[in-house]
Symmetry: C2
Subunit: 289 residues, 2 copies
C-alpha cells in the first residue's frame, strides 16, 4: 500500500468511486463546482500533491508503454469535456504534462472539416484512438457531436438522437479491443466562466485564447447543460463511465483528473515485460564486442 499523502483523505474505493456519476438521471446542478472531494488540504497542498503524483504516474505510464512495446494491446483514453474555460488544456498541461510525452497522444478536436464530416462523425475519432501502451487524451471528442451539434442544430434531431447509441457501440468496441476509457466532465459554474473570460480579456497575453463566439455559446448555457445531461446519462456505461470533476478550483481539477488516471493505471497494473531473450547469453555476446 502506498503511504497516504498530505491532504489526501482516506477513501476506500479511491477517488473514482467518489466522482463517478451513478447510473440513472443526471442533473449537474446538484454537483458543487467548488467541491474538493477526496482532498482536505489547501490550494498550496493541492499543487504539491499534484507534483508528488509525478513520479508515480510516470512510472506506471512507462510500464504501460513497455507492455505496449512488447505485444501488449492495452491503452487508456482520457476524454475531456467541459464548457469553454473549464480547463481541458490546463489538465493536459499540468496533469498529462507530468508524464513522458512519448507515451501520450493528445488530440484536440475542432469543428470538423467537410472531408471529416462526409466520413461520419466517428471517423476522425477512430483515427485518434491511442496505440498500444499509449495514453490518449481527447480535448473535446465525439461528445461534441451530441453537444454543440444538438444545441446549435448542426444536424437534425433524427441524426443526433441516434448518436448516443452509436457512441455506446463505438466505446464498447474500443473497450473490447483493449482501450480503457475514462471520461471527465470538467464542471464549472457560469460565474466562474465569466471570471475566466474576463481574465482573458484583461490580459493581452491571453487574448489569443478568447473568441467572441465564446460569449454566444455562454448565452446558451442552459441548453448546453441539457445536452450534457443527456450525453452523460445515456453514455454512462459500466465500461466507459463518466466522472464529474468539480473544476472551479483549478488546482483541485488538475489533481483529481491526474489521480483518476493514476488509479486507472494501477488497476490495469501493467508489469515490466520479461525478457524474450537469454539474458546471460546476451551479456556474453555484449562483453565480446
Amino acid at each position: 500500500m502506498a503511504k497516504q499523502k498530505k491532504g489526501e483523505k482516506s477513501a476506500g474505493g479511491g477517488l473514482r468511486e467518489q466522482l463517478r456519476v451513478p447510473a440513472g438521471e443526471v442533473d449537474l446542478t446538484k454537483y458543487d463546482t467548488r467541491a474538493t472531494a477526496g482532498f482536505s488540504g489547501t490550494k498550496d497542498d493541492g499543487k504539491l500533491a499534484l507534483d508528488a503524483l509525478g513520479a508515480e504516474v510516470s512510472d506506471w505510464q512507462e510500464r504501460l508503454f513497455a507492455e505496449g512495446r512488447t505485444g501488449g494491446e492495452r491503452s487508456i483514453l482520457l476524454v475531456l469535456q467541459g464548457m469553454d474555460t473549464s480547463g481541458k488544456g490546463g489538465v493536459i498541461r499540468h496533469g498529462a504534462g507530468l508524464m513522458d510525452p512519448q507515451g501520450l497522444k493528445i488530440t484536440s478536436f475542432k469543428a470538423p472539416t467537410p472531408s471529416e464530416k462526409r466520413r461520419g462523425f466517428l471517423w476522425r475519432i477512430r483515427q485518434a484512438v491511442p496505440g498500444h501502451g499509449m495514453i490518449g487524451v481527447f480535448d473535446r471528442s465525439h461528445y461534441e457531436d451530441v453537444l454543440i451539434a444538438r444545441v446549435r442544430e448542426l444536424v437534425t434531431p433524427n441524426v443526433w438522437t441516434r448518436r448516443y447509441d452509436q457512441i455506446n457501440e463505438f466505446e464498447a468496441e474500443l473497450t473490447a479491443s483493449g482501450v480503457t476509457i475514462v471520461k471527465c466532465y470538467l464542471h464549472i459554474s457560469p460565474e466562474e466562466q465569466r471570471a475566466r473570460l474576463e481574465a482573458r480579456l484583461d490580459d493581452p497575453t491571453k487574448h489569443w485564447k478568447y473568441n467572441p463566439g465564446d460569449v454566444d455559446e455562454r448565452q446558451l448555457w442552459p441548453d448546453y447543460m441539457e445536452a450534457y445531461h443527456a450525453a452523460i446519462e445515456r453514455c454512462n456505461t459500466p465500461d466507459a463511465p463518466w466522472y464529474v470533476i468539480p473544476s472551479d478550483r483549478k488546482w483541485y481539477r488538475n489533481w483529481a483528473v491526474t489521480t483518476i488516471l493514476l488509479e486507472t493505471l494501477k488497476e490495469l497494473n501493467p508489469q515490466w515485460p520479461t525478457a524474450d531473450f537469454d539474458v546471460e547469453k546476451e551479456k556474453k555476446r555484449l562483453a565480446a564486442t
Copy 2:
C-alpha cells in the same frame, strides 16, 4: 538580457554556435563524447540548470503555439539521431517533457512497413511534419534511410546515394514553408554504449528496451560512423544545420538539446497575438451575460 544561470558559461553566439558542425568534411572521432561545451558546472548543477529552463522554454513554446493558432505558419522540427542508447528517448522525456504536451508532436520512426515503403521514403516523414505553432520531435527520421539502409544494404547504392540530395530538397521545402529544422546527433562512444547496454541487461525493468539486434548493430559501429559522416556532411545546410551533442553525460545531453531548442525559439521570437476583436466591446458583452 536574461541573467546568466549558474553553470552556464557566457558564450557570445550561444550554444548553437559552439555545437554546430562546420561546413566541410566531417569526422566524428574528432568530437569528444564527454565534452560539456558551454557548461562549467557539475552533474547536479546541470540537472538544476535543465529544470530552470522549464519555465522559459514553456513560455516561448506557448507563444509559438499561440502564433500558430492565430494564422502564423511557423513551427520547429527537432530531429534526433544517434546510435542505440544514445538517449533520443531521454532527451524527449527530460527536455521536451518540460513543455506543454499540447504543443509537441513526437514521432518515433521504426522500420518502415511495406505500405510506407511503396510510397517512397519521405512519404511517412511528410505525414509527421509538425503543424503550425507546434514543436515536432523526430526520434529517428529520414536519416535512417541513409544510415541503416546504407549499412545494411536495404537498398542498392544507386538508391541511397540519391537520397542525400532528396533530403536536402525536402528540408529546403520544409524551411520555405515555415519549419525551422534543428538536427541533433547524440554522440556517444562505443564504450559508453556497452555500459548502457550492460545496464539494460542488469536491470529487469529495462529488459524491454533491449533487443539482441542491438549487439549486431553495435558490431557495425565503424560502418555506421562512416554513414553518419556522409549524412552529416552532405546534409549540413545553412537552413537545416547539424549539431553534434556530446552525449556520454546524460545530464549534459538533455541540457544542451533543450538549450538549443530555447535558443531557436528565442530567435523565432514569436509574440503574443494581438486581439482581432474589440476588447472593450467584448468586456461589455460579457458583463451583460
